[in-house]
Amino acid sequence: MLVVDFDRFLMGFSLGVHIPLASIGIALPLIVMLAEYLGIRYADRNFMVLAKRLSLALVVLFAIGTASGMLIALNILLLWPKFMQLVAQVAILPFYLETFAFFMETIFLSIYIYSWGKFKNPYVHLISVIPVVVGGFLSGALITMINAFMNTPVGFDIQAYISSGAVTNIQPLAVFTSPSALIELAHVLTTSCFAAIFIFIAYMAYRLLRTQDEQKRNYYIKGLNLLIVVGAVFTVLALVTGIVSIATLVNLQPEKYAAIEGNLYPQTFAPERIGGIPVGNTLQYFIPIPELQSILATGSPSGMVPGLSSYPVDTWPPLIVHLMFDIMVGSGFLVAGILALFVLLILLKRNPYVNRLMLWLMIIAGALAVLILEIGWVMAELGRQPWIIYNVMRVSDAANYSTSVIPITGLILLFYVIAIPLTIVLLRRIFRNRPLEEELKA
């Protein structure tokens, strides 16, 4: 059991670091594109400098993200060989297509970075970042399709596989239309953008708090205006797709749904349970909101929602996912509240950027957004336990039991422990070597 736990830990830790990097890789090209467009359209140097400086950060974070992504690909192959063997036979095409999306990002990012000032028409340079944006979203969508396959497997004869281990009746294109694919990729892409944009909102708010220079303040305020507008759009989209996503679990992964909602028994007129402490296989000390769960899940207060008691105990996910869900939703509402406060200040004709409390709240929103992203993924993956592929393959059946994995674990953890802080230090040095005031004047 020890080796499986190592496999699990290494995979979880690697993904925990990789996911924020990947999210930045999806959202940042979009922000760079919008900033450069605004810079060209309104001949505004602030936005041009913003695009240029963010693209520099994108290069560094993209490189670290790519390296980390390669490690994840190796981890999946080496830690879960039986899982990968099945995926390779049945659902490899999204993985394969993703490499081309990745090529598109990589090649056009190089073109974008090394062609600043090379075209007479600045819109030609702007066009070169579009494939980076498209590639980023496609990469995220295609990888999410593999996760959707893990949640709702399709494309082969599942009964034959379970009974004999034979992979038959393979339909390699079915993975693109697995039942959870559409809603899952909508939710993953929107939450990724939401989290990544709020990281940059927090950074810009922090810089704004620290400077009195008018020119710099103008730059950060314009950056925040852009980020907050885009961030607000993704907050709404993340919320809507999140509600739909939970509702689809009722039919697609009822055990996961029941554990997330803390339902021990199936019931009608089900209350939404806020908080609570898992005691054994029950949830206690929660605050109920009458009928809300049934309404959200089925559209009717009398709607039936699933409960764990309908399933064998050894297929129950850990009940801790309920608390994770509450933390995620609660944090989401806090971020939405901070955004609402920002809008309220504007409606009251008060400048939110001179309000230090507002700026601190933006920094807190950034931290909450990362928490939401991480805890959301942990909840989604824990909620599928004990399965790596739902109702097809258990995690314990997919793992690599070779003890040689264990010493390598240390090396990989060391990489993340060293490389991530070093990257942050490096980014600080890069921007210190390129003073903002000089770039704004140039």
Partner: protein, 310 residues
């Protein structure tokens, strides 16, 4: 020949050529970075991320082409592949640090670290290749491997030395090091001799394949001869041809080795089902063409002069 095998080998040959070219750049960065800084940056900066992407591309194509081999390969090669992966990550990290940190001591320091990581990564990657060709260091029936015999086998060492010599040959000519042809020609012939020695002694089935298809070796040597003549004449296409020679030679080696793996097994038993073959080939063809087109745009843009300020 199985079309999936051909496509996978073609991708492998381009990936491996890019890897060897990077070994060449890493050698130069390690030994004399300050003298060749501009040339190295001009070559490496636009392309290093593409090389990394090619590694991922090859890995996923391999997974799609040989799905039933993954359980075995993932178990027996777990250590060298994870070590190569760790070195790959550090190589990327140090290179991007060197790229953006600006000229100075830090840049040189990061470039040297990048070079060491590239060599370490290549060593472990080539040890997996060598073991895959020969079966050395692994027990397929027992689904196990021993790391030290695998990476320190004479075959692996000879293979790695041969690759480094080819890298030196490419690097000497590409970056115009120490005068054209002065060290390049001996390096490439030493490389061929080293690799052939290793194959003849430790990979008998591959050697038998080469002997049975000796014309393949003759083709490779003929292209090399043309390359060397062009280099003597300082023809601008000599470097392009040397890269083409390497890609073709790796493919010719693949033909000679077909369909062996692990020394004595047949690779065909692991090839993907017919249901998956068609979409895989279509995506490879269309996607490959799109990548080639994108790379052409990258090369075109790299030649445009920077003369507009905005």
């Amino acid at each position: 020949m199985n079309p999936l095998y051909i496509a996978n080998y073609l991708i492998f040959s381009i990936f491996f050529t890019l890897l060897i070219m990077e070994i060449g750049a890493a050698l130069l960065a390690l030994l004399s970075y300050s003298n060749y800084r501009e040339k190295l940056r001009r070559y490496l900066l636009p392309i290093w991320e593409v090389n990394g992407t090619f590694a991922a591309f090859y890995l996923v194509n391999f997974e799609a082409t040989y799905p039933t081999l993954l359980g075995l390969a993932g178990t027996i090669y777990v250590l060298p592949l994870l070590l190569a992966g760790a070195a790959f990550i550090l190589r990327s990290v140090f290179l991007v640090y060197a790229e953006v940190i600006g000229a100075g001591e830090s840049e040189q320091k990061y470039m040297r670290l990048y070079a060491v990581c590239t060599l370490v990564m290549s060593f472990f990657a080539i040890s997996v290749l060598g073991s895959g060709l020969s079966g050395i260091g692994i027990n397929v029936a027992a689904n196990s491997a021993e790391l030290l015999p695998l990476i320190l086998s004479p075959f692996n060492l000879l293979l790695f030395l041969g690759m480094v010599l080819i890298a030196a040959f490419l690097s000497i000519n590409y970056f115009e090091v120490g005068g054209r042809m002065k060290y390049g020609t001996p390096a490439v012939f030493a490389a061929i001799a080293t690799i052939l020695l290793g194959i003849s002694q430790y990979a008998p089935s591959l050697f038998a394949g080469i002997i049975a298809n000796i014309y393949l070796l003759a083709i490779s040597l003929a292209i090399l001869a043309v390359t060397l003549v062009l280099q003597l004449r300082k023809n601008r296409y000599a470097n392009h041809l040397s890269i083409l020679w390497l890609i073709m030679s790796i493919n010719l080696l693949g033909i000679a080795n077909y369909p062996s793996i692990f020394g004595s097994q047949s690779m065909l038993q692991y090839v993907a089902s017919s249901a998956g073959a068609l979409p895989l080939l279509v995506i490879t063809t269309v996607g490959g063409a799109a990548v080639a087109l994108s790379l052409a745009v990258l090369i075109y843009v790299s030649y445009i002069r920077k003369d507009v300020a905005y």
